[in-house]
């Protein structure tokens, strides 16, 4: 069972109280971008076996969006952090490194 802690209200609940919002930290290419960038933004997603970063919404609770770093195989959650970031904060990366040395995800490690 996937158990997440909402960083906005502090509630820890299992995944049915939340709703997944897809991959985190996408760059939204819009006007003035070229076709390849827009194509990648629309269609290209990571599908890792292991460390992954996602957006989640506490849909039955406080209603806020947040980010989660987790393992797609074991459902271990390395941490959750606010939605108002464009990349994972240092303490989340360190928490992942402690559990999964040598991890990498979209150029992050």
């Amino acid at each position: 069972m996937l158990i997440l802690t909402c960083p906005c209200c502090g509630v820890t609940a299992e995944e049915t109280e939340f709703h997944g919002g897809g991959e985190a930290h996408l760059t939204r290419h819009g006007p003035d971008s070229d076709d390849d960038q827009f194509h990648d933004y629309l269609f290209m997603r990571e599908n890792p076996r292991g460390v992954h970063f996602e957006r989640w919404r506490h849909v039955y609770g406080c209603g806020k969006w947040f980010h989660a770093a987790r393992d797609t195989v074991t459902l271990e959650v390395f941490g959750t952090y606010p939605a108002q970031t464009t990349e994972p904060p240092q303490h989340i990366r360190e928490a992942i490194s402690a559990r999964r040395p040598g991890w990498s995800w979209r150029g992050l490690s």
């Binding site: 209200c9 609940a13 299992e14 406080c62």
Partner: protein, 189 residues
């Protein structure tokens, strides 16, 4: 004016705990910066209660103030007092980035009483209902089976639960099944 009526006309059920639908209650949703002195004063002037900490509910004789999210409160009061409360809040919060809306008629409210209330809720919602984790004075927004709800304990052995009025019959049905005699789990809450 037409008489306010609750969604189910005050249905009751006696299982191993009592389930009852409560009469119409005044409810006002207040959104804004919960840390702002203006908002805290407005809530205190209206209800006589302080803005609760995250995940808490403060209760008075007629009023209650429930923390719904980092920028939202639910104010409970007598049904007839809600329209006036909105006017008062809007006047008090003029110039602040805040919003007060009356939602009394959008909601249904239930009360569970009896020593097994924790079990009845635990069967329906993904909430740790053990005495150590969930105590009177806390509020939890969650789901009961398939619909959104908020619940708190005014005191031990009593749970009050708010849901949308449109799903009141569904929620009453759920609570009935969960509270049916013979359905005691004996989880030792």
């Amino acid at each position: 004016m037409s008489e306010p009526v609750s969604a189910l006309g005050g249905l009751r059920y006696e299982g191993f705990v009592r389930v009852e639908e409560l009469p119409p209650r005044g409810m006002v949703t207040l959104r804004g910066d919960l840390g702002s002195e203006g908002l805290r004063r407005a809530v205190r002037d209206l209800t006589g209660l302080d803005v609760p900490d995250a995940g808490g509910v403060s209760q008075g004789a007629e009023h209650a103030v429930a923390w719904m999210s980092p920028d939202e409160l639910l104010l409970l009061m007598p049904h007839a007092a809600a329209p006036e409360a909105v006017t008062q809040l809007q006047a008090a919060l003029a110039g602040e980035h805040a919003m007060a809306v009356e939602v009394s008629d959008a909601r249904a409210m239930f009360r569970l009483t009896g020593s097994g209330v924790r079990e009845v809720v635990a069967k329906l919602a993904p909430v740790d209902m053990s005495r150590a984790a969930f105590r009177p004075g806390m509020i939890r927004r969650t789901r009961v089976a398939q619909v959104a709800a908020a619940l708190w304990m005014p005191e031990e052995d009593c749970v009050e639960l708010v849901c949308f009025r449109s799903v009141a019959a569904y929620v009453f049905g759920l609570l009935k099944v969960s509270a049916a005699k013979g359905g005691e789990v004996g989880a030792g809450y």
